[in-house]
């Protein structure tokens, strides 16, 4: 079965045997081995990833169930070589011993912190019901979460799965799905302005015409890689590698997102 989904902001189209577990797809096909398998029956939580921002056990899903979704693994919560505040707190609080449960813990807690700005200790512990750790006795894991809350103040700073990033993902998904109405109506304000070097497009109707034209030329569109993603206040700047029937291009895009809709977008290709 052919499925397309985004993992860590990179789109993949794979031909999958329907019985293959998502965790095996991530580990064996995409080599994202930060996702671990501790039980393969849904108890230990070593395999937790975010699917459309929600923590799921990737051993409890089939790969084909991921079609159309956006997945974040431990490899996607921070740039390689850097740690986000939650990760930093894990080190500072000695919340890691053998490290096998750690990626799953981070992913679960990322979801928790996205839902709740100041979870209580009991909430943190209850949330971790699906994450087993045999080394730490959980004490320092709980401490780490509390410490991270002190540092960052807001869960949005804790994790890369921010509202803007989610918005961007959903924008991208609508685009890749070829659903121009959903793309424009749900993501652009009525008087949005898209500035490209082919022209400046303003208003939803013009945008729909523009995207339809674009997609009719760029069939089989895939975002092969997201090389840069910067967000700042209401603004997003991205550099992506785009593959389509027309070939491979490097694209850059800038968005200003206000009240959940793009008001201004700039797009260019190299």
């Amino acid at each position: 079965m052919r499925v397309t989904f985004t993992v860590n902001h990179q789109s993949h189209t794979l031909d999958l045997e329907p019985r293959v577990l998502l965790v095996d797809v991530l580990r064996d096909h995409l080599h994202l081995t930060g996702v671990k398998i501790g039980c393969d029956t849904g108890q230990c939580g070593a395999c937790v990833v975010l699917m459309d921002g929600v923590s799921v056990k990737s051993c409890a899903l089939l790969g084909v169930q991921a079609d159309g979704s956006s997945i974040t693994t431990i490899e996607g919560v921070s740039e390689k070589g850097t740690m986000n505040p939650l990760q930093t707190a894990f080190q500072a609080a000695h919340a890691v011993q053998c490290g096998f449960c750690t990626p799953g813990m981070i992913m679960s807690l990322t979801d928790l912190l996205a839902r709740s700005a100041q979870p209580s200790e009991a909430e943190i512990r209850a949330w971790l019901a699906g994450n087993l750790c045999r080394c730490t006795g959980y004490e320092n894991v709980v401490r780490a979460v509390n410490a991270a809350l002190q540092v960052a103040g807001s869960p949005a700073h804790l994790v890369t799965e921010t509202p803007l990033r989610k918005f961007y993902d959903s924008h991208l998904r609508a685009m890749l799905a070829g659903d121009v109405d959903a793309l424009v109506d749900a993501h652009y304000s009525a008087d949005a302005v898209l500035t490209t070097f082919e022209g400046v497009i303003s208003g939803r109707d013009a945008l729909k015409t523009y995207f339809r034209d674009y997609l009719s030329v760029h069939t089989d569109l895939v975002i092969a890689a997201t090389e840069r993603f910067v967000e700042f206040g209401d603004s997003i700047y991205t550099e992506t590698v785009v593959r389509s029937a027309r070939g491979v291009t490097h694209a850059y895009n800038a968005f200003v997102v206000q009240d959940g809709r793009v008001t201004h977008q700039f797009a260019g290709v190299k």
């Binding site: 081995t33 039980c39 490290g99 096998f100 512990r125 045999r134 080394c135």
Partner: protein, 792 residues
């Protein structure tokens, strides 16, 4: 030591890789051309194999090779057992090299437990290999099974091994039976207890895996395995199992996701992947599932104890006697029989001076998964038994349990103290540990809290546990007497690089213990080199000295001293070179903050780095001194070390539902000198929760036919984050004289007291219901039944 780095809570160097998901475990290693192996395991606990038909499986898509036990005959030997009950007659499966055997990796005609291997398949993908397993037809003749030692030792019991008459591996004793019996016969008070220290499944979150490569040009193998003893396993695999030269096998143990006593064994999968890699000339990977892990990896505890404690009305314990039946499972695991006997038997007197003590152990084979060590092995079983008895004794004579303990403690002034069963306690202050724990608990105020809980319809109980937990395996000559068929020293090398970096190689191997950081702290403190510039290499038999591995809380107290002494050697050599450079005599040299200087002339000095460089260039070094700065130490401790502790649990029971809530847990520990207090606390947290798991949740359940019912994490409950209190930790420091660091083993002491503290607290809470004892785990059902013996 001046202690600038050592003893400080330094953040772990190893963490970022784990936290970013970048640290590879065996399962994460993917080699070009790799194929996958799966093992077909027996579905019966005891059966004869009439025939095996692999013809269908061999034709399945992607299948490269299918083998049965018959294909191994003459090409592979049985696994060996290297720690046997010491000093007594014992019986084992056979091994052609006259060493105790532990069964072939695949059986040909007789399977003895539900994880016994009968065939192995290699296919292009794991899914294909699993498909092929299902196509193998095995015709079994099911035999009656035995799952408990008593049943196995009964007359006419089914026999597991021809070479083990009556299924008895060994009858092992320690102490003086006659004087103990006499003291019991004469005693004013005698309390008895029958208990089952239930079988548990260690359950590290990473199951095991093995990946082998074979180079047909050089005949060399590489084995990546989740093992805690790569050097030992290399020796065992080469010499005892595969008949290959030691130089032809390199073992790499990448990151290991916890062990708790399960990854120090040679398992059938290891020789099998090596065999398959040679047959197919491709990398072969085997990765266990959780269910596979539970059915085939060693399990822990499983002692059925009958114990008697005798004493006087004024609270003096006069004798202690224990008869235990240890369930070894179907085969001896690599070190299982030694664990089941000495580690338990010699430990039963705990921190008490008991004039007469005796322990006998019947170690028997049954149709269950082989037994191994589990965090706190032996000492935890001994402590639970003795501490429960001490509480029963206190209740019998109407004395406060704390007071009974006070009246019987070995005193600090009695050290070194011979416990009469084979341990020679090195140092410790057992009374102080308990007093501190009592103070922290607010022991005097607890009766009022009990009343308050009762008013809410709940029952509060307080439980004490005092213990000593022998650690730091061990002095090799001593371990030989304990039945260890090999040395138990440890090794370390240090090389000072001309760039100012330091590389230390150790034979010990971490699986969560923080070697990279804590060992760097030792070196940093001694050599004055920043922790960041020190790298600790381990886990690869190529390039590290032979070491025994990490088990029995031994790394810090065995590999640590090896490093410490190696630093001394480095400094001695560097001192000669430095003195030469400074035109001074070596006896005038002072080493401070990474720099040598002439005593009294601070400015006439040379740094360790400059000295290292001078030795590296070797243009001008003293006569008789070799170039470069590098040294190695093989360290064998003069004796074990004996960490100790006192723990207090406060539990609240809901008599309506039988639910047990852990309200507080206090642990005061004496682990001697501490290298990194943050890491130390982490070891205690994890250790305590491991004990709580056994006390409250965990049990490996076999039915009468030997089927393991609790073979997934759905049916085997591990402790979760919810419902645990914050742990209240404190430390008393009595350095051990048995190593230069003064450090004692700390990996297990959290576990050793926890079951007893919770058990005592629970029975205290249920005192008004006349409950004397409940076997672990204290599930709501069992507690409720104890409260309502005649039903609701």
């Amino acid at each position: 030591m001046a202690n600038k780095v050592f003893g400080k809570p330094i953040k772990r160097k190893e963490d970022p890789a784990f936290i970013q998901g970048a640290a590879p475990f065996v399962a994460d290693i993917h080699l070009p051309g790799m194929a996958h192996m799966e093992i077909l395991r027996s579905p019966h606990a005891h059966a004869r194999i009439r025939s095996i038909d692999t013809s269908e499986a061999a034709k399945m898509p992607g299948v490269l090779k299918v083998i049965t036990g018959h294909d191994l005959v003459g090409r592979m030997k049985p696994l060996p057992c290297v720690w046997i009950p010491g000093g007594v007659e014992s019986h084992f499966p056979l091994h052609p090299q006259d060493i105790p055997g532990a069964g072939m990796p695949l059986q040909t005609d007789h399977v003895r437990f539900i994880g016994d291997g009968v065939a192995a398949v290699v296919a292009e993908t794991r899914y294909q290999a699993m498909d092929a397993l299902r196509a193998i037809r095995v015709d079994y003749e099911v035999l009656p099974a035995v799952t408990t030692p008593e049943a196995a030792l009964a007359e006419n019991a089914p026999q597991l091994h021809d070479s083990v008459p009556g299924n008895l591996n060994a009858y092992w004793t320690c102490g003086d039976s006659a004087s103990t019996d006499a003291a019991i016969a004469d005693a004013e008070v005698v309390v008895e207890l029958d208990l089952l220290n239930q079988r548990t499944i260690n359950s590290p979150i990473e199951p095991r895996g093995a990946l082998a490569t074979f180079d047909p040009v050089t005949d060399e193998f590489v084995l990546y395995a989740s093992t805690q003893s790569p050097h030992n396993h290399r020796l065992i695999l080469c010499y005892y199992v595969l008949n290959i030269s030691l130089n032809k096998l390199r073992i790499i143990a990448p990151n290991v996701g916890g062990s708790f006593g399960t990854k120090g064994y040679v398992y059938p999968d290891m020789p099998l992947v090596l065999f398959m890699a040679r047959e197919l000339k491709r990398p072969i990977k085997w990765q266990d599932s959780r269910q596979g892990y539970m059915r085939s990896t060693v399990q822990g505890r499983d002692h059925k104890q009958r114990a008697v404690l005798a004493g006087t009305r004024d609270g003096k314990i006069t004798a202690l006697r224990c008869t235990s039946h240890a369930n070894l499972g179907a085969y001896p695991s690599t070190i299982g029989p030694g664990v089941a006997t000495a580690m338990m038997g010699r430990s039963i007197t705990g921190p008490y001076a008991i004039p007469a003590a005796f322990c006998e152990v019947y170690a028997a084979f049954t149709n269950t998964v082989p037994l191994g060590a589990q965090r706190g092995s032996g000492r935890s079983e001994a402590t639970f038994m003795t501490e429960r008895l001490v509480d029963l004794f206190a209740a019998e004579i109407g004395m406060d349990p704390a007071e009974v303990r006070r009246r019987n403690f070995v005193q600090p002034g009695d050290m070194p103290y011979d416990n009469g069963l084979g341990w020679l306690y090195d140092s410790g202050d057992y009374p102080e540990l308990l007093e501190r724990a009592l103070r922290q608990a607010g022991y005097a105020d607890l009766p009022a809290l009990k009343e308050e809980a009762k008013a809410r319809g709940r029952r509060l109980g307080v439980g004490l546990a005092s213990f000593v937990a022998v650690s730091g395996v061990g002095p090799s000559p001593r371990m030989a007497k304990e039945g260890m068929l090999g040395g138990t020293w440890e090794a370390a090398s240090i090389r000072c690089e001309p760039t100012g970096d330091v590389v230390a190689t150790i034979g010990s191997k971490p699986h969560g213990q923080s070697h990279d950081t804590v060992f760097a702290q030792i070196i940093s403190e001694r050599l004055g080199v920043a922790v960041d510039r020190i790298s600790i290499r381990h886990s690869d038999t190529m390039g590290t000295p032979f070491g025994q591995g990490s088990y029995g809380s031994r790394s810090f107290s065995m590999a640590g001293p090896a490093l410490y002494l190696t630093c001394d050697k480095i400094l001695q050599k560097a001192c000669l070179a430095a003195a030469h450079k400074l035109n001074a005599s070596p006896d005038e040299m002072v080493f401070e903050n990474g720099r040598f200087y002439v005593d009294g002339q601070m400015d006439r000095g040379i740094t360790l780095l400059e000295t290292t460089l001078a030795l590296w260039y070797a243009w001008d070094i003293p006569d008789g001194v070799e170039p470069c700065l590098e040294a190695t130490t093989f360290w064998d401790a003069p004796d074990f070390n004996y960490p100790s502790g006192a723990q207090i649990a406060l539990v609240e029971v809901d008599p309506e539902t039988g639910e047990v809530e852990l309200k507080r847990f206090i642990a005061v520990s004496d682990v001697g000198v501490i290298g990194n207090p943050m890491v130390m606390e982490g070891q205690l947290h994890g250790g305590i929760v491991h004990g709580l798991g056994q006390a409250l949740f965990e049990q490996a359940i076999y039915d009468d036919d030997g089927n393991l019912i609790s073979d997934t994490l759905e049916r085997y409950a591990l402790p979760k984050a919810a419902g645990l209190p914050h742990f209240e930790l404190d430390f008393v420091t009595s350095p051990t004289p048995h190593n230069p660091l003064g450090a004692k083993g700390a990996g297990e002491i959290g576990t050793v007291g926890a079951t007893a503290a919770v058990g005592n607290a629970l029975c205290d809470a249920l005192r008004e219901y006349g409950v004397r004892h409940i076997d672990m785990p204290f599930t709501p059902e069992k507690v409720w039944r104890a409260i309502h013996p005649h039903g609701g």
